[in-house]
Symmetry: C2
Subunit: 503 residues, 2 copies
C-alpha cells in the first residue's frame, strides 16, 4: 500500500513556482464557487506519519485560499470539556457549515490508531471504531458533504533523517516530542494499523489519498491538485444530485400511489387514556416524586452521571407541564431545557443532527429536550421538509447518535406524551378562551391537527425503529395531565436509580 509513496517523487523549485501560481488561482476560484453555489461543506483530513507534511500542507491551503472561510482544527488529548462528552462531540462541534472548508489534523482517526498500535484494542474493537467513523462520514456525505482524506507518508529511513535533523537543530529541537522516537521504533505497527484504516474506510464517498511526503514541492502540489480536482468534481456531482433528488421527491409525492389499505392500529391506540388520578392524590404524589428526584439527581451530579430526557407529543400534549414538574425539583445550575422549533439559518446550513450535538452538556447535568432530533422523522417527514430518502435513513443515524450517548454512560429517556384527538380539541379551545394561554396556540397547530393520522403513522414507525432496551420510548397516557406527570416523574426517578445502582 505504501510502496507507492516511497518512490522519491520530486518537483523542482522552478516548476513548483510555476504550477503553484496557477493552482492558487484555480483553488481560489473554486472556493468562490463553493461559497456562492456550493450547498455543501468540505471536510479535509490530514493523517499519517510524523514529519510527512501534515502541518505544512494545512498552512499552505490556508495561504492559497481565503482563510476566512476555512476552519482549521487540530486535536490533542481531549480537554476536560471534551472528555466529559461522547468522543464525536468535538468533531460535530467544529463542523464547517455549507460553503465552508474544514481542515482537521489528528482528527477522528487518531485515537483508534494509537489504541490499536499500543495494543489497547484488538482487531474486532478496532473495526468497531472504524465502523463508527464510517457511519459519521456516511451521514455527512449522504447529506451532500464532500469528505477527502490525505494520508501523508514517508519511509522509516526518511523519518529517521527528519527526526535527527530536528534533534540537532537548536532552534527547532523543542518541536521534538518524547513520543517521536518511540513511535519511530514502532513504525511497522503504525503501518499495519494504517493499512487497516485505509482498507476499511477508503469508501467511494470518503476516499483516502496517499501522498508521498518526502519532497515539499511535490507533496504540496499533489495535495493542492487533488483537492482542486475533487472539489470541481463535487461541485458538478452535487448540483446534479440535488436536481435528481428534487425530481425524485416530486415524483414520489405526485405519482407514487402509496397503498393505504385498511386501518392500522398504532401502538398509541392501545394506551388506556382513561387512566387518571385526583387532585389530592396528585399533590401528594408530586411532593413525594419531586423529593425523590431531587435526592437522586443530587447523587447523579456527584457521581457525574448525565441524563438526557426527550419529550415529544402532539401539540397541546402537555410537554411543557411535564417538564416543569421535573425542573422544579432541580437546581438550575445542573439542568438545561432546550426547546426546539424550525431550524435557524445557521442550523439549516449544517447537518440536521448538528444542533442537537451542540446541546450535549458536561457530565452530571440533566438536559431536557422539548422536541428533538425526532423532528426529522415526525414534522419533517409529514410536512415534506425532508425527502423520504432523508427521513428513512434518519432512523439509523439517530440510533447511531443515541448509541454514542449511551456508550458514554448517559441515561437517555424518551417520552411520548399521548392524548386523544378529542382531548386536543378541548385543550385548543381552552387555550383560545384563556387570555394568558392564547399565545400558545397558532394557526400551525390547527393545520397539524388535520394531519393527525399521518402523524400517528409516523410516530408508530418512530417507536418501532428507535425504541431499544437501553433507551426505550416511554408512552405516557396524558389525557389526564396529573396522571401523566406523575408517571413521567417516577419513570425518570426509576431510570436514575437503576443507573446509580449499577454505576
Amino acid at each position: 500500500m505504501f510502496q507507492t509513496a516511497e518512490l522519491g517523487q520530486q518537483v523542482s523549485k522552478a516548476e513548483y513556482k510555476k504550477r503553484e501560481l496557477i493552482l492558487r488561482q484555480d483553488l481560489l476560484a473554486l472556493q468562490q464557487r463553493l461559497r456562492s453555489d456550493g450547498k455543501f461543506p468540505v471536510i479535509l483530513d490530514f493523517a499519517g506519519v510524523r514529519g510527512a507534511g501534515k502541518g505544512t500542507s494545512t498552512n499552505l491551503l490556508n495561504k492559497w485560499m481565503d482563510a476566512r472561510w476555512i476552519v482549521t482544527q487540530a486535536y490533542n488529548e481531549p480537554s476536560d470539556e471534551e472528555a466529559e462528552r461522547p468522543v464525536f462531540w468535538r468533531y460535530w462541534r467544529n463542523m464547517p457549515c455549507k460553503g465552508q472548508i474544514g481542515i482537521y489534523l489528528s482528527g477522528r482517526y487518531s485515537k483508534p490508531l494509537l489504541d490499536y498500535v499500543y495494543g489497547k484494542t484488538n482487531d474486532a474493537q478496532f473495526t468497531r471504531e472504524l465502523k463508527r467513523i464510517n457511519n459519521f462520514e456516511k451521514a455527512l456525505t449522504d447529506d451532500g458533504a464532500m469528505v477527502l482524506k490525505f494520508w501523508m507518508h514517508i519511509s522509516q529511513d526518511v523519518q529517521q533523517d527528519r527526526l535527527e535533523l530536528l534533534e540537532n537543530d537548536p532552534l527547532r529541537s523543542w518541536r521534538l516530542s518524547p513520543d517521536d522516537w518511540k513511535h519511530w521504533e514502532m513504525y511497522d505497527r503504525f503501518i499495519e494499523a494504517a493499512e487497516k484504516i485505509i482498507s476499511q474506510t477508503n469508501t467511494g464517498h470518503a476516499p483516502w489519498e496517499i501522498i508521498e511526503g518526502e519532497d515539499f514541492y511535490y507533496r504540496s502540489l499533489r495535495v493542492g491538485e487533488i483537492l482542486l480536482e475533487r472539489l470541481e468534481r463535487h461541485l458538478i456531482s452535487e448540483e446534479l444530485r440535488q436536481k435528481y433528488l428534487a425530481e425524485f421527491r416530486k415524483k414520489m409525492r405526485e405519482e407514487h400511489a402509496l397503498p393505504v389499505n385498511g386501518k392500522h392500529t398504532t401502538v398509541m391506540d392501545k394506551l388506556d387514556l382513561s387512566l387518571c388520578i385526583g387532585k389530592k392524590k396528585f399533590r401528594n404524589e408530586l411532593a413525594i416524586g419531586q423529593a425523590r428526584l431531587a435526592t437522586l439527581h443530587q447523587q447523579a451530579v456527584q457521581k457525574k452521571l448525565s441524563t438526557i430526557l426527550v419529550f415529544e407529543g402532539p401539540d397541546a400534549g402537555g410537554k411543557g407541564g411535564a417538564i416543569r414538574q421535573i425542573t422544579e425539583a432541580l437546581d438550575a445550575r445542573n439542568y438545561k431545557v432546550y426547546p426546539f422549533a424550525a431550524p435557524t439559518d445557521v442550523e439549516h446550513s449544517h447537518h440536521y443532527l448538528w444542533r442537537f450535538w451542540n446541546c450535549i452538556q458536561r457530565s452530571g447535568r440533566m438536559t431536557i429536550f422539548d422536541r428533538s432530533w425526532y423532528g426529522r422523522v415526525l414534522v419533517e417527514r409529514v410536512e415534506n421538509f425532508a425527502g423520504d430518502d432523508e427521513w428513512k435513513r434518519a432512523f439509523s443515524e439517530i440510533n447511531d447518535f443515541e448509541e454514542q450517548l449511551i456508550e458514554h454512560g448517559i441515561v437517555l429517556h424518551k417520552f411520548w406524551l399521548h392524548i386523544s384527538k378529542d382531548e386536543q380539541l378541548r385543550r385548543f379551545k381552552a387555550r383560545e378562551e384563556t387570555p394568558h394561554k392564547r399565545w400558545k396556540l397558532c394557526d400551525e397547530d390547527w393545520r397539524n391537527r388535520e394531519k393527525w393520522d399521518e402523524y400517528s403513522a409516523a410516530v408508530h414507525e418512530m417507536i418501532e425503529k428507535t425504541s431499544v432496551q437501553k433507551s426505550p420510548w416511554i408512552l405516557v397516557e396524558n389525557e389526564c395531565k396529573r396522571y401523566g406527570r406523575i408517571k413521567v416523574l417516577h419513570s425518570v426517578c426509576d431510570a436514575l436509580e437503576e443507573a446509580l445502582d449499577t454505576d
Copy 2:
C-alpha cells in the same frame, strides 16, 4: 422496538380475500415491469421469531407472483461444499440477476444472531459481523439492487401457543425441532440480539420492516403491500438514478478538466527491468522451483490449504507463460485456471464481483486467475465502462472481498507482470511474424497500447489502494521472461511455505 408488533393487528377473512385480489394483480403487474424495465435485482429477506410466518409469507409471494422469476433460498447449516468456502460464497452464488426476485430465509443474519445469542461472540465481534453484512448490502444497492428485509415478530406468549399447538397435533408435530423450546426459553436473548441487528443494519438503502406475525391475514397483506410500495418506489428511483448517473458521467468526461500536471513516477517505473537470467540457469532453476512447488502443493492439498493466484499485466506481459510454469508442476485435479475477458450477458446482469465469487473452489485447491476482479479498476476504468463513481468505490469492495478470502485461510497472491512499452512493441511484432502466435494479437491490443500512460496511472493507484501486508501485489520484472517466471515460481513457493508453517 417490538412493542409495535404486539398489538393484535387483525384482518377479517372477507377483507383479506378482497384485498388479496387487488394486491396480486398489482404485484404481478409490477413484477412484469421489473422484468421489462427493471435494470436491478430484488433481494427479500425473511428473518425473525420461529412461528411468525416466514415460511408461509415466502410461499404466498411465490403464489401471488410468477414464481419462474423468483429464486427462493433457505439456508441451513452449511454443506461441506459451503463450509469449505468463505461464508458469503453461498449468498453470492444464489444472487438473483437483474429483473429477478430472490427470497432468502435464515440467510446472512442467521449465524451472527445465533452466535451472539449463544454467547459465542461478544459485542465487538457481533458488530464486526454486522459490518460485513452492511458492506455486502451496500455493494449490491450501490449497484442498483433493491434490498428489503422483513423481521417477522410474535410475542413470547403467542410463540408458546404456536409451539403447543404444533406439539399436540399428531400430523404436524414432526415440524417441531429440539431447538424450538430451547429457543423459546431464550426468547429475551433473541430479542436483545434482534434489536442490535435492526438498529445497526436498518439503513436507508437496505431497510428492515417489522411485521406483526400473529394473524395470518394481517401479516400476509402487510408483507405484500409493503413489497408493492417499495418495488414501485424503487422502479421510479432507479430509473431517475440511472439518468442522473449517465448525465454525471457524461459531464465528467466532457467538462471536467482533470489537472494533468507534471509527470508522476509510478511504482512500476522503479522496477529494474534489466534483471535477467540465462537459459541454462533458467532450466536449472525451473526444475528446482517446480519440484519445490509440487511438494508444497501436495502438502497444501493434504492440509486443505487453498491458494488463489491473480495475474495481471499489460498485453503481452507474459501472464500465460508464467501460469504455465506453475500448472506444469501441479496435478490437474487440484488446480483450475480461469481466464477472464469481457463479461458475458449473464455475468453482466449481476454485480461485477459475482462471476469471481463463483470461481472460489473447495479447500485445498489452487485457483489461478488470468485477469480478475481488478478489471474493474483497470480496463473498465480506462475505457469508461465503469463510471468514476463505480471504480472509485470498487477499491473498498475489492478489499472487503479479499479480506473474506484471507480470513477464511486462503493464501492470496497477486502478481503484476511488468514490461516496458518498447518490449511490448517487440513482442507484438514477434507475434505478428510468428504464425502460431498470431491469434494472440488483436486490434484491441494496439488500441490499449495507445493508452499506456492512462493504464499506468490506474495500475499505480490499484497497487496503492489494494496492496496490503496480508495480500500484497508482487511486482515482477518480466522484461526477461525467464527471470520473471522464476521469480513468480519462488514467490508462490515462499507464500505456501509460510502458510504451511504457520498453519
